[in-house]
């Protein structure tokens, strides 16, 4: 099927970011002092479990960032016509979930709609009953008696698949490690099992196993059921939660991409030059900082909305418009949140510029720009790194709140915030429609929790201040301490 690739702005930046991360990884390989920090992170069980979960989230997000427009059948005169709708690779992979829409709400793993409807029977009488779903459990004749067996079969098949996949991953890992260290695979297995490895493979394998043990049965069930139910317009909630991941990742990462150049540039300039440069930069960030964050964001988003709404001709498709709004939201969040990091970097630069090696460089006649780039910047990178990973989870949580306030992503963009916002109205229904909300909260919790755990490990490994806090905790407790 011929396709027309569509590269949205956020896709481009996301891939650029991944490229930068890969380049940074190669750079770190050659720098022993940086490698030592990452080794510390890799040794931590919690951090590596978190990383495994994060990798799964990122994989979904990246697959969901490869966009294209499918070709419509029946091209006229050799001219290709493409669908207006922009789909992603991920959409194609889960096309079943996307296509199997119902009429309206249905509970998780239910074969019936959530509300009664008038149905005309074969003998011409009318009755109000719960109609069967178009797709959920439609393969069963009598869902009430057959559903249990169907679930069990699917879960069993899913678990078997999970086990096979998990063994394959474990075997592959053991073989790779064995080859690298020149030992037998069984020795590697024993070391992993005992937790006797420098990288916390055991924790990673356990969390990968748990992930597979949940994901495989769910995907088996999802072939014929709506695992998390459907929402008001009958869309599968599982599909929505998976689509939300990309939005969350984009907001969490691209925002820092905006923050970094401003914060690093101004922070170093203020700290290094001092004097009036420092005064001006301090004035700018104090002023920006004194406007309450949510209000500044709200005002900026309102203004951006006016710009987008008064220029409908800028965007070819609605996906592009929604994407522009997402990118603008990242920009706004970035411009309003660089002040904290800037202040930290300014303070650290103030200390660094008095150090002997900087004075020596100055005495040798090294240019100011070179001193800042070669001698100051590398020594600030740990602060930058820590703040990037620490900010991520906060931004993911902020998106939900902002979307609720009405200044978040475009209402047509699927995100945790828009899911919560549309599900909130249904809480007062009797009986309650809870599944949309719960699915969004659970996925958001998993993403944020793993980001938090990973960020903590990175901070512990790279922040010199933290090391002084950690060490006494490992030492024997002083006598008399209660």
């Amino acid at each position: 099927m011929p396709i027309l690739p569509v590269v949205l702005w956020t896709d481009l930046l996301l891939f650029a970011l991944i490229g930068v991360a890969i380049a940074a990884a190669f750079y770190v390989r050659g720098q022993p002092h940086l490698l030592a920090g990452w080794r510390g992170v890799a040794a931590g069980g919690a951090a590596m479990s978190a990383l495994t979960v994060l990798t799964a989230f990122v994989a979904v997000g990246v697959l969901d960032s490869i966009h294209f427009r499918a070709e419509l059948g029946g091209s006229k005169g050799g001219e290709h016509r493409y669908a207006v709708e922009v789909t992603s690779l991920f959409d194609v992979m889960v096309s079943g979930l996307r296509a199997r829409t119902e009429k309206t709400y249905s509970a998780p793993l239910s074969a019936q709609l959530f509300s009664r409807e008038s149905v005309e029977r074969a003998d011409g009488t009318q009755s109000r009953e719960f109609p069967r779903l178009r797709h959920g459990g439609a393969h069963l004749k009598d869902p009430q008696s057959e559903a249990g067996a169907d679930f069990a079969g699917r879960v069993l098949r899913g678990s078997a698949l999970a086990l096979v996949l998990w063994l394959a991953v474990g075997g592959f890992l053991a073989a790779a490690l064995a080859r690298r260290h020149g030992v037998t695979a069984s020795e590697v297995w024993r070391d992993i099992w005992r937790g006797d490895t420098s990288v916390a493979w055991r924790a990673m394998l356990v969390s990968a196993g748990l992930l597979l043990a949940v994901a495989c049965p769910v995907s088996m069930l999802a072939e014929a059921w709506h695992v998390f139910g459907t929402d008001k317009v009958g869309q599968d909630v599982l599909y929505q939660t998976l689509k939300s991941i990309r939005t969350a990742l984009v907001i969490g990462t691209l925002t820092t991409l905006v923050t970094l150049p401003i914060a690093v540039g101004l922070g170093i300039l203020a700290g290094y030059f001092g004097g009036w440069v420092d005064d001006v930069i301090q004035y700018i960030y104090t002023t920006l900082n004194s406007i309450p964050g949510v209000l500044l964001i709200a005002a900026s988003v309102l203004m951006m909305q006016v710009v987008i709404d008064t220029h409908p001709d800028w965007f070819a498709t609605s996906a592009e418009r929604a994407d522009a709004r997402l990118l603008a939201l990242c920009l706004i969040l970035g411009v309003t949140s660089w002040t904290g990091l800037c202040r930290l970097l300014r303070g650290e630069t103030l200390k660094l510029r008095e150090l002997d090696y900087v004075l020596a460089a100055r005495a040798f006649g090294v240019s100011q720009a070179r001193i800042m780039a070669r001698h100051i910047l590398p020594n600030l990178m740990h602060i930058v790194l820590i703040s990037v990973v620490m900010d991520f989870s906060g931004l993911v949580l902020a998106e939900a709140v902002l979307s609720y306030v009405g200044v978040g992503v475009d209402p047509s963009t699927i995100s945790f915030g828009t899911m919560i916002n549309s599900a909130r109205m249904e809480l007062s229904r009797e009986p309650m429609v809870w599944w949309s909300l719960l699915a969004a909260f659970v996925f958001m919790f998993l993403l944020v929790l793993s980001a938090n755990l990973f960020a903590d490990a990175v901070r512990d490994a790279f922040d010199p201040r933290m090391q002084s806090l950690v060490r006494p905790r490992r030492a024997p407790r002083p006598a008399g301490a209660a």
Binding site: L288, S290, V294, A299, S300, S393, V448
Partner: protein
């Protein structure tokens, strides 16, 4: 002391002016009033007359900075910048889209906002600091470890979840308090207790961890070792020495938010239907009432700057090393 306070206030003036300029640029330069009118009236079927009427009703039909046609002082005062931005310094915020006076509305809505924000703030401070002290007292034990794990888990939960979960459990399932609403006087606590409790629980995770780090930084200092060497009990060390010396970092984070309590919380107030400034702001955002949003941005910043001044003053009270120069 008086001279010190005066100087702090003088430092704040350029910042307030900066905030004023930023809001002006955001609301009138990024988009022209014509754009805003078109947006409000609907993009497609809008006539130039309708735009003109919309602008005239709100006083947006003047030139931005300088009116060449006016006489004398009016050259500068009969402009959008003067009537909309300069007038904010004397707390004249103009009118809402439906005609009510914004300053008046703000002063009446402040009370419910404070009724929620103040108890939440004080109780939450007490709870998080005591939890943090408890964790530090039992540092390097299982209690500390699982306490921190719980904190990380709690701060990974969306604040919306605490509110929705609280409303569902306490108000809907157990029927203890009304789901939302507000009443004055003696009836008020019935409506306030749930939002306050939810606010406290939502802040426990991040707060406890933050204060725990502060206390841990203090607890390895020499003076603490000296205090222990003197034979003081761990409790005396904690409350008499560590807590006192941790006051500076605590005050830095705490005092600055006190004035902004007036603003209330956007989310809490809108979920619980409290007629405070938070829900006022949300309503304004949803109905795109630019005048109200502009006023709230300005007030919020002024309150924050007052908070900065108060922080500086509070340092002089707790830390004798900070001299009043």
């Amino acid at each position: 002391m008086f001279a010190y306070v005066v100087r702090r206030v003088l430092y704040a003036i350029p910042i307030v002016i900066g905030v004023n300029l930023i809001t002006f640029a955001l609301f009138f330069v990024v988009n022209t009033p014509d754009d805003m009118a078109r947006m409000q009236l609907g993009i497609k079927r809008v006539t130039p007359e309708a735009i003109h009427k919309w602008k005239a009703e709100r006083g947006y039909d003047k030139p931005l900075f300088y009116d060449g046609q006016a006489e004398g002082r009016d050259k500068f005062t009969n402009t959008i910048f003067f009537t909309k931005s300069i007038r904010m310094f004397v707390f004249d915020f103009g009118r809402e889209d439906n005609g009510r006076d914004i300053a008046n509305e703000i002063s009446t809505r402040m009370v419910p906002s404070l009724a929620i924000a103040l108890p939440t703030f004080i109780l939450s401070l007490l709870v998080t600091i005591s939890f943090a002290l408890l964790l530090v007292l039992f540092r390097a034990t299982y209690l500390d470890f699982w306490g921190v794990v719980l904190c990380v888990a709690m701060m990974s939960v969306s604040s919306l979840f605490y509110i929705i979960g609280g409303q569902f459990l306490v108000a809907k399932l157990w029927n203890l308090v009304p789901i939302s609403g507000y009443a004055n006087g003696l009836d008020a606590p019935r409506f306030l207790i749930l939002p306050v409790v939810v606010g406290i629980i939502g802040g426990i995770g991040a707060g406890t961890r933050w204060y725990r780090t502060i206390f841990l930084e203090e607890i390895n200092r020499d003076y603490v070792r000296t205090a222990r060497a003197k034979g003081l009990s761990e409790l005396r060390v904690m409350f008499g020495h560590v807590l006192k010396n941790a006051m500076i970092p605590i005050l830095t984070g705490v005092v600055v938010v006190i004035p902004t309590l007036f603003l209330g919380s956007l989310i809490t107030e809108s979920f619980f239907g409290i007629p405070g400034l938070g829900s006022y702001t949300i309503d304004a955002i949803n109905s795109q009432d630019f005048a109200v949003v502009r006023a709230m941005v300005f007030i919020g910043s002024v309150l924050y700057i007052i908070g900065l001044i108060l922080t500086d003053i509070s340092y002089t009270l707790v830390d004798p090393r900070v001299r009043l120069q």
